[in-house]
Symmetry: D2
Subunit: 342 residues, 4 copies
Amino acid sequence: MVVRAAVAGASGYAGGELLRLLLGHPEVEIGALTGHANAGQPLGALQPQLGPLADRVLAPTSAESLAGHDVVFLALPHGQSGALAAQLGDETLVIDCGADFRLSDAADWERFYGSPHAGTWPYGLPELPGARDALKGARRVAVPGCYPTAVTLALFPAYAARLVEPEAVVVAASGTSGAGRSLKTHLLGSEVMGSMSPYGVGGTHRHTPEMIQNLSGVAGERVSVSFTPTLAPMPRGILATCSAVARPGVTAARLRETYERALAAEPFVRLLPEGQWPSTAAVAGSNAVAVQVALDEAAGRVIAISAVDNLTKGTAGGAVQSMNLALGLPEELGLSTIGVAP
Amino acid sequence: MVVRAAVAGASGYAGGELLRLLLGHPEVEIGALTGHANAGQPLGALQPQLGPLADRVLAPTSAESLAGHDVVFLALPHGQSGALAAQLGDETLVIDCGADFRLSDAADWERFYGSPHAGTWPYGLPELPGARDALKGARRVAVPGCYPTAVTLALFPAYAARLVEPEAVVVAASGTSGAGRSLKTHLLGSEVMGSMSPYGVGGTHRHTPEMIQNLSGVAGERVSVSFTPTLAPMPRGILATCSAVARPGVTAARLRETYERALAAEPFVRLLPEGQWPSTAAVAGSNAVAVQVALDEAAGRVIAISAVDNLTKGTAGGAVQSMNLALGLPEELGLSTIGVAP
Amino acid sequence: MVVRAAVAGASGYAGGELLRLLLGHPEVEIGALTGHANAGQPLGALQPQLGPLADRVLAPTSAESLAGHDVVFLALPHGQSGALAAQLGDETLVIDCGADFRLSDAADWERFYGSPHAGTWPYGLPELPGARDALKGARRVAVPGCYPTAVTLALFPAYAARLVEPEAVVVAASGTSGAGRSLKTHLLGSEVMGSMSPYGVGGTHRHTPEMIQNLSGVAGERVSVSFTPTLAPMPRGILATCSAVARPGVTAARLRETYERALAAEPFVRLLPEGQWPSTAAVAGSNAVAVQVALDEAAGRVIAISAVDNLTKGTAGGAVQSMNLALGLPEELGLSTIGVAP
Amino acid sequence: MVVRAAVAGASGYAGGELLRLLLGHPEVEIGALTGHANAGQPLGALQPQLGPLADRVLAPTSAESLAGHDVVFLALPHGQSGALAAQLGDETLVIDCGADFRLSDAADWERFYGSPHAGTWPYGLPELPGARDALKGARRVAVPGCYPTAVTLALFPAYAARLVEPEAVVVAASGTSGAGRSLKTHLLGSEVMGSMSPYGVGGTHRHTPEMIQNLSGVAGERVSVSFTPTLAPMPRGILATCSAVARPGVTAARLRETYERALAAEPFVRLLPEGQWPSTAAVAGSNAVAVQVALDEAAGRVIAISAVDNLTKGTAGGAVQSMNLALGLPEELGLSTIGVAP
């Protein structure tokens, strides 16, 4: 089986990471690469790490360029996927790394994104109860946001087993690539090195309703999420520190056992041995998710912490994992759980 | 007035920062510098940034070396300050940057530090209601921990005004200098660069009871704190993201007004204009504290975030500020609110 | 004496550093602050580290805004200083942090900058033989480039004493603030963290003729410089590794002695003890220059290495040092030799 | 073909990188993992990025542990490989990542390493003229040092074609993992972040004679190398800036053509398009080498710059490449030329 794949948005960080993974995927042949402002340029000038594709020239992003592929990955700014996908036939698997088709609630979408709701596609987080089956054979996939990936995988076992109250508090630190390759002063190296800073505080970050959707679905009741993202002085990685009030009778042993059971069969999620905590370095460049959990008896809270690479499992790796499922390939094909450290 | 000051523990990060500040203090003359393993070495080999003191040689840390000074700063490992301070007369101002005399509850001390309680000294956080008066004329000062400094200054206005429930959730990111200059594998540059990782999770970090003590004192009731510290890939700085359930009737306007009133007179704490958030870079190398606060109405929580330099306001700057108060000097003398950025 | 100072270009990195230093200068009162794209904005939104000036609003950069000051610092893009300075009377001390008035050879200027030569002002590197006298009482000063500052101070003693051949090889690493606050993809934090990369290779960097001018002047013959700048993953600092063929008969002892003699009286330059090497961290945020020198007998070369903070001694600190000299103030006033480390 | 491989020194950075690569090698089965101080510990506690091997326990490093493998990789401190290798039969391929068998000149070895010379093994830099053939079928391989790898690949085409004079000047910046996982104060994150610093200046670094050996062999005459290594604030990567006096008649066109011809057939070395310069980020985590070259006509020098990942091509990747050649496998098997960026 040879899968011919196109990448729209090949000059950004998500596009570059998709290509890095697709180059190592044994069943994929890389087809069209497209860009907007960078159309006409050789990829080597934009993504110097992708040596084997250095001489490939970016086509303009359009339905014409993307036609005739088995899979089309969209790594575009929010709001641009819908119109393009509509022009790609149902025989094409379309995997959207943007937000457009993640939320099922149109009002949530409109409140947070300020535009009409485009619809809802199967959600590319196979580890979320129910999601894996929906991905098998799908022709459209909405790749989760990077923060929702980290937060959902840290907390869903606790919510699925009703160990915690439905008010979660999340503080997450992200590497700067999560903000994309856009030219903004606060993303300059001079500004970010040596600095931690929050943004989107107070429930305003667009990933908040996605986390609520995921956790509420698992919990069977409305879960609120107080989410504070912070920008960390590193290029990649998310560390999500999540907590919620422990329900009466929850013990450390029961908590551990619940997480062990929930995560045991997952190929990419690793519950660390007791006493060992996740670090973003240990999952850098890989599709692995490291999780650890603890009960703070004095404060009465369950603390669940996860680390992911925002570009790999948080975006491009999650997209490839979903592609494998949609196409009936082995879920782990072309994906690694081995981090590049130190 | 010339104040003759000694620094015990001059080869560590806290000691180096104390000397950096004391060199710029117009009323201080630097006397004895002491070390343990490094006694006999010139300071220039250990603290190359302190050019003017490069040729000073470290004496061994002992009561003899430290005798005859107006002020003695102790920047020693926990547990070593008590015996030394007992040998320094009451005419000497002793300022302990360690934890030994911070906690008033002996049981808390013993549970978290595993040794007998040495006592309680006036607490060197002038901004904490009541603390400034206790520091005036004091001969013994316990400098707060770096995390408690950041967290207390972010949350005390909300607790003093009873705007939030007594269960706080804190996730703080610290630069690596907070862990001291000790040789541990996880502190190597190769391990920390590019990585965020938590430690002391689940209520086990020693700064937890100190935060509880400060906030409970202000709130007039027992406040619990769920505290998760994380290690960030930067040498300096703490960003503390703190939250608690908003009490009924709390509005964004009332929250803002409460913080404005509580912090207006503080020379080192700056409540940022609405919409601007703290960053550790903006306070690096300074005694400034940047604070911002928001109400997340959907999640029903108050979010208060502060940034400090862990070595300056979080340790050595706080120590000098307390010295000024204890000696009757202007509180701001020798201290800057201007960060070194970018 | 109160010196009223204006800063044109207050929103950039050089402008911010000038203000940080001027705020700590005992004889300076800060007057107009101007910007171009940012005129009308409060400084606190642009330079959050400058708390005391947070509410000051930027005026447009113009002769009107800058009139009526004792000193005007220009921190503008190359090519903009000449016209502005011509409108400021000779009673005003104008200190240009740009390149416009650094080179004495018009052909060099035109080849490297591609515009007509504006002229030559007294050169703000007091340590360069002859320069200090020219600065006393000057009304116009050209602040050296950051790389020429580091390289000249590393090599001039060797050239002044004719210890080396007139072909220098320089490889220098600079923090990203040296590239200014401009929005360019290769300056994004995601691109620079974890990466070293060269630029301006092969003699094309604009600071090359300035180095040649300085060293040739000292050597009394034409010195060629092979200069390779590299971008390092840090916000501040330059480490300049310079070498040249040792002339016959040069010994390590004579080399050391030459440097000791040449640098002994300099308040800001420190020849490190033998065996200790400069680091940019040790001079960060200070006006200090750390220098060390060695003779590689096998390769027959003298190696001279210097570290400076590109924004302080390399730009704003050098500017203030020159201001002090021009105004007859003590040369060291308001400047520190103590680095902010770690 | 299944190759059973053991790694001695599995707890260090080189050992970890070897395992990362071997886990992805289609013909390798990982056998014994050994350590010294860490024997008895699970690998997951030491190398958390190697999830699939987390439960493997380190055996003590000894001939017994390492017996019965097709390949044994030695990632040990200098001086420990000889005795161990002598106990491993000739049927075992032994690949030494240490320095013990790199130098052919016993006097050089003794001067730089201070111990008796152990011998000389085939040199694991296939790109060096003559080296590839010697590696085919070899049972012993000396993996080059990381700096010599970068420097040799930057300069050998110029020396092979006699375009430059036999005095090279090299300044190289290395990530901190090049210094290994040893506990030294100057390697702490707090010290290295934000800092560039030189070390081993003046011809004293142990990699100097290895560079001289390689370049002299290619040039057919004794080449001197003035080598200055610097420590850069990043975990991985080497950027080597190399130059030498251009011989009369050398033009930019001839230089380019020489490099194109010399490197065209190399699977891992990429001469970048004109105008594009190497960065360590673009080769991070890969076995790729990026090279660019320029002629500085004013200074009369050829500048050649290379970037490698010190742990991959500079150590473990080079080792695997040599293993492939020694065993008759395709040279590129299990190795990637795609960097992990940003």
